[in-house]
């Protein structure tokens, strides 16, 4: 208590400021509590409780396997379709949940935001982290499925964390931009879910990217999530796209968007309370 007291300067901020990451670090415990609140609050008073985390992607996978695998007979690079699909569904669910949650995070937490100060970045960060946690649970199912279908990952599996990180950063980058916009235009929160559904079809979730003809493929692979999903399949199942130019391009694109998004967010947060 007797350490020299820190002086807080409150001045109008203009233009590009710092990201205030030090502040975020100070509040890391809050980040943890918010993630935990999200998870715990979501599944209270539900008979199946946290089981829903795994049930949701699993059911989606069953439906997609029947519709796209059995009926439409979409190719799956020679991998059993359920495995092929679930392997993509995991990162995609993490991405889409994180994006839609963090896009609305400022608005849905306005009660706290307008009454207490804390680094606002913590709010969308916690949404993204909750998505990551969900991912970890669903990943256990994937392991079971891989055992069932007799697939054991090779040395490529060491690349998996890279792809998880890339997906997380991509969702955060998009989420930050959208969260800032959603404060002013509530339409965003509304539109995001629909756009994400459309986006799923320009990402190789239900089909392999090898289905896309060559001249378009390069453009197609500028979609970071396409790279992530192909990378997932490659590192776990040995099929798909090995890391290469497209990975570096995507990573660069994501990093730039993340940087811009974070700054946009920092600029937006200054008068967030006045607009909410």
């Amino acid at each position: 208590m007797d350490q020299p007291s820190k002086i807080t300067r409150i001045i109008p901020r203009r233009g590009w400021g710092s990201l205030g990451l030090k502040d975020v670090w100070e509040f890391r415990e809050l980040l943890f509590f918010l993630v935990w609140r999200e998870i715990k609050g979501r599944y209270r008073q539900m008979a199946l409780g946290p089981l829903w985390i795994v049930l949701k992607p699993f059911i989606t996978m069953v439906v997609m396997s029947v519709v796209f695998g059995r009926l439409a007979k979409l190719p799956s690079d020679g991998v059993p379709y359920p495995l092929f699909n679930y392997c993509a569904l995991l990162p995609w669910t993490m991405f889409s949940v994180s994006v839609s949650k963090s896009a609305t995070s400022l608005v849905s937490n306005m009660g706290v935001i307008s009454k207490v100060y804390f680094p606002r970045l913590v709010v969308p960060l916690s949404s993204a982290c909750a998505g990551l946690l969900d991912f970890c649970f669903s990943f256990l199912i994937l392991l079971c499925m891989m055992l069932y279908f007799g697939y054991l990952p090779g040395w490529q599996v060491v690349f998996l964390p890279v792809y998880v990180l890339l997906a997380l950063m991509a969702s955060l980058a998009l989420g930050l931009c959208l969260a800032t916009a959603a404060v002013k235009f509530r339409d965003v929160g509304y539109a995001v879910d629909h756009l994400l559904q459309v986006a799923m079809y320009i990402t190789p979730v239900v089909y392999p990217s090898s289905l896309v003809p060559e001249p378009w493929r390069q453009i197609y692979l500028l979609n970071p999530m396409a790279v992530v999903i192909e990378g997932f399949r490659w590192s776990l199942l040995g099929k798909g796209l090995a890391p290469g130019v497209s990975l570096y391009l995507s990573a660069g694109l994501v990093l730039i968007t993340l940087f811009l998004g974070a700054h946009l967010f920092r600029r937006g947060e200054r008068n967030v309370v006045d607009l909410l």
Binding site: I10, F33, R37, K40, G41, S114, K115
Partner: protein
Amino acid sequence: MSETAIRVQNLGKRYRIGASAVKEGGTLRALGRGLASPFTYLRRSLTQAGSSETVWALKDVSFEVPPSQVVGIIGRNGAGKTTLLKVLSRITDPTEGLAEISGRVGCLLAVGTGFHPELTGRENVFLNGAIMGMKKKEIRQRFDEILDFAEVTKFIDTPVKYYSSGMYVRLAFAVAAHLEPEVLIVDEVLAVGDLTFQKKCLGKMDSVARQGRTVLLVSHNMESILGLCQRTLWMDGGRLVADGPTEDVVRAYTQSCLQLASEGSSIAALDREGDGRLRFSGFSLRDGQGQPLEYATCGEPVEFVLSYHTNGEELRHVSAWFWIKNHLKKGILCFYTHVTGQDFERLPPSGQLVCRVPRLPLPPGNYLVDLSARAAGVQVDRVPEAARLDVAPGDFFGTGRATTGLGDVLCEQSWDLEA
């Protein structure tokens, strides 16, 4: 410790108002316009959000607070008090100027923010503490203290959605008060909670100040301001009007409120509650002979005349009363038809209710009057601070002795010695 805990220089905050011009005409019409000319509509919605009228909620506010001072902030609604606290607690950025605060800031702008209804009391204490920047270790150290203070030990593992609002408030205040910040910012949170707890909170703030911490307190309750703060800031229209010893500032402030109340002599135009079947239209004074008076005199007969008119409906079983409040806005004396068994069976469409007092037991001073009436148990009108009542010095005791310093109300008395 540095010499100043809070330094504020030329602080200003500008708000945009009327930004939602897009919505005029209702959703359907907006939908129609959006379909007819989508691009014009979109452009207009996007640009209108940016360009609208502005208003300064804070302007040129400057002051300094040394450590361990308790400073009250008073002012009418919309004077900028809460905006000032929001800027100081970093919730929103100022538009101009500068503020410096040394040390950790704890703020209580509303109670229970960030409480999640599905989580238990225990979980919420940790969550709330974390929101305010407390470390888990610190919370754990003070956990028992917090529980004791909040008096919710029994329910600590129950989700807070099952809490009564009192328990909710107690728990929330307890967390904030035990944060032990160098600067504590409190906004009118004590209005909730029962009297015992309010006292407890005031006591806690007092002890926080004694430990050498600085407290900024916004309140409409002049008594708690007078009791807690050495110094008070009076804000009006976003500016600092007065800054000085609490008693002086509070006196000046209440004087100005009294003036405003008497300027608005037309009671009909004041804010009121009730279903409106009856409306008070005037409050005046007469002496014992029915002659109008400007002011009442302590110890002399007085008649209070409450003029009213109804909306034409005949009112039955009407009771009326008025509270006399002192300069601290505390009710000290109530006159009530019910206590004399004189409720009115039927009221004509307009008239005057007259209350006769043989000897006015109020010491000299300025008072405010709240008027209320009920018909068959239903509130028909209530006008807070409807009128001002001035009481001149007088010889209440018939001995020529002073009538001040004897409390809020005087009482006839005689003394004997029985040995």
